[in-house]
Amino acid sequence: MNEKKKANPIRKILESRLFSQIMPVGLLVILTVIFGIATKGRLTSAASLKIIVEQALVVATVSTGGAFIFASGNVSLSLGATTVLTATLSLLAYNKTGSIAVMFIVAIGLGVILMTVSALLSTALGVRVMYVTIVMMTLLSALQQAILGGSTVSLPYEVVQKLVKGGVMYIGFIVFFIVCVVLFHMTDIGRSLRFIGTNNLCAEQTGISKAKYLLIAFIIAGVGCGIGAILAIIRGGSVGTSTLPSLNMDCMLALVLGGMSIFGGSKSYVYSGVVGALTVVVLNQGLLMIGVDATIIQAIRGIAFLTLVTVSQVRPKGLPAPEG
């Protein structure tokens, strides 16, 4: 390999992939330290950290699955609505049968079915994923409202306790996360999706079928929604029309905060959702604890999201195309 010399070591570090992978973790640590100091240690107490992790689990799970869709350069807006409707129907299934196994099967099965419908609509009609998922988001939210009206549906307290004590939340997330890491980074699934996100046309001409891999991405995201729904049930004990209202936005924010490009492609990492979910919750909790109004927090999250999307559009200095 002919290597040209005169490397600027600082620039080399800044432009390296490793730096872009480590930076989100650094951001999480910095935010935790800043809010830890600002809240005089309340945020970093053991009890508070446990709450942060538990709160982050739902977002982390759903966004880990969603990372597969985002890697392909597509934006899904129905992850939140799918998770909430799935949670509602799986709880109703439990109430009907009294079986936890049925609840689990319904959650995962329904998550997969709903996401598969989105994928098929997009590929069959040739409509962009974003537009299809806008329709799905509206439709699924309306469906949940029609089913529940103003009421909520709950899981009996003793069942919740049993699941909490059994560590189902952590086990569910860890198993799903490990499977996703393997699929994303060690099989053709993740690589193909990233390549589609980089250049869709080139991917097709390299034999990578966009329709096939997009369907796989939605199925994995559907499993994520299903597991996310179970975690939401266990954490909240009940589901209503106001459950997890900003889940989709939280997932998107988590992915970009976790270092993933909103446009997918080469710089997509499956762990972005996890690091980002923790960052989102630390940001939310930290701001709440120092007394910032909830509306202002929403605005701050929106600004953070737009800033990160803007930054991710800036071409790194070392990457022009120096032809000839």
């Binding site: 390999m1 002919n2 290597e3 040209k4 010399k5 005169k6 490397a7 600027n8 620039r11 080399k12 432009e15 992939r17 393997v182 060690m186 099989t187 053709d188 699934i189 690589r191 193909s192 990233r194 390549f195 980089t198 250049n199 046309l201 080139c202 991917a203 097709e204 001409q205 390299t206 034999g207 990578i208 079928s209 492609g265 080469s266 200095k317 070392g318 990457l319 022009p320 195309a321 120096p322 032809e323 000839g324």
Partner: protein, 500 residues
Amino acid sequence: MADQQTILEVIHMDKNFGVTVALNDVSFTLERGHVYGLIGENGSGKSTVSSIIAGMQTATKGDMTYKGQPWKPTSMLEAQEHGIGMIVQEAGTIPNITVAENIFLGHEKMFKKGPFIDRAKLTSDAQKLLDELGIKEFKASDRTGQLDMQMRKIIEIAKCMYWKPEILIVDETSTALSLEGRQFLYKVMAKQRDENKTVMFISHDLDEMMEHCDKLTVLRDGVIIGTLDKSEYEPNRIRKMMVGRELKGDYYRSDYEGYSDEVVLTAKDVTTLNDLLCMNLELHRGEILGIGGLSECGMHTVGKALFGIEKVLDGEVRVKDGTLINSPRTAIDHRMAYVSKNRDTESLGLSATIAENIASTGYKINAFFGNLISFKKEARYVDKQIEDLQIKCAGKNYMVNTLSGGNKQKVVFGKWVASDAEILVLDCPTRGIDVGVKASMYKLFTDMKRSGKAILLISEELQELIGMCDRILIMKDGQVTREVMRAENPTESSLIDYMI
């Protein structure tokens, strides 16, 4: 005080892209009334220095003077307004707007009428410009997307000439032009010289450079190797300066080895929505089969149809075992490869790394235990291609868009060579690459042929077809109209006769 004849001076210029050194202490002077040629291998820094002069990017170190004043443009528009215009290598027009709107892109305020843009005046001024330049092939009101790539390049030339540049930079423009288009460009360049203005011309076509340039400056690895006056031009000497080693002109095949009788790919009565009508061909094991013709003859669609990208409405494409090729996946599963003419848009993931691009054909090959990919195997798969094809890069994890054109093309080849394809469909594979890389590509084609691989070479360069192919199929109106064997020793003029 600068000499009145001197229009631009580049003084000790350096340019680094991250760890890559694109220009290293480059100094030269441009005088009025000359056509200067800038020549060098891909990645030598030609486009980098010209783009700095034209305001597309800034130098890391060094100075420039323009008409005796310090010159540090911050944008192409600024350079254009001060009299330095550049026709860029990549596509520089927007398809969804009219020709007139493309010509005045960024300068719409010139046609402001109250809060609105006076589109009628914009169009009529553009039409006046086209008339002045003698462009009759399209009108200012035509939608750009309806025109072919060549016509779009002509729009860029017109756009540049509107500003009556004192320095016109022509960067690798001629590769996108046919013979008539090139003649038009040469006329524009000659007029510029006659008006005591300056042209900086960049091309990989040595004959073209020697014919049209008064002086040739050779760059290699970001360093100026030397400048030659017209009287000193000698092709082998220039090539040697470019690549740093002796490179004889005859880098094509000299053998008449022939090929096997075994047919590995058949196209029978292939008809597509556009371009092809009952097209037939047979490709044999160990054969380099050339396809040539005038623009619009349909030859570029042949590659796409054979590889399953272009939908075949009637007829069929089959490989040796009888399998119907109707998608790229089927083609790849039957060890076919396709290199598109449009490298940057179809053959590469520019914002992916070199490793990711090469590895994209090897997910199955590098798998172990089901679908799990072995990182070790994959690294070997990628490293081998970087070594074998001598891809100049700072590292395999650098993005492809940091590479020069020739090295990008090597990455495209690398991904298909690595996949051990048996049938290669190559559409203008040496387009826009320098003689050094071309020579290594031709050697690669010959080695592949000898190892029994079949190559379909679609090319606009007649010399390439004559020099490399066992058979040449001439196409006209979407059909093969003539077959020429290597043994017939065809000439360029005989091929042109067949095409016409």
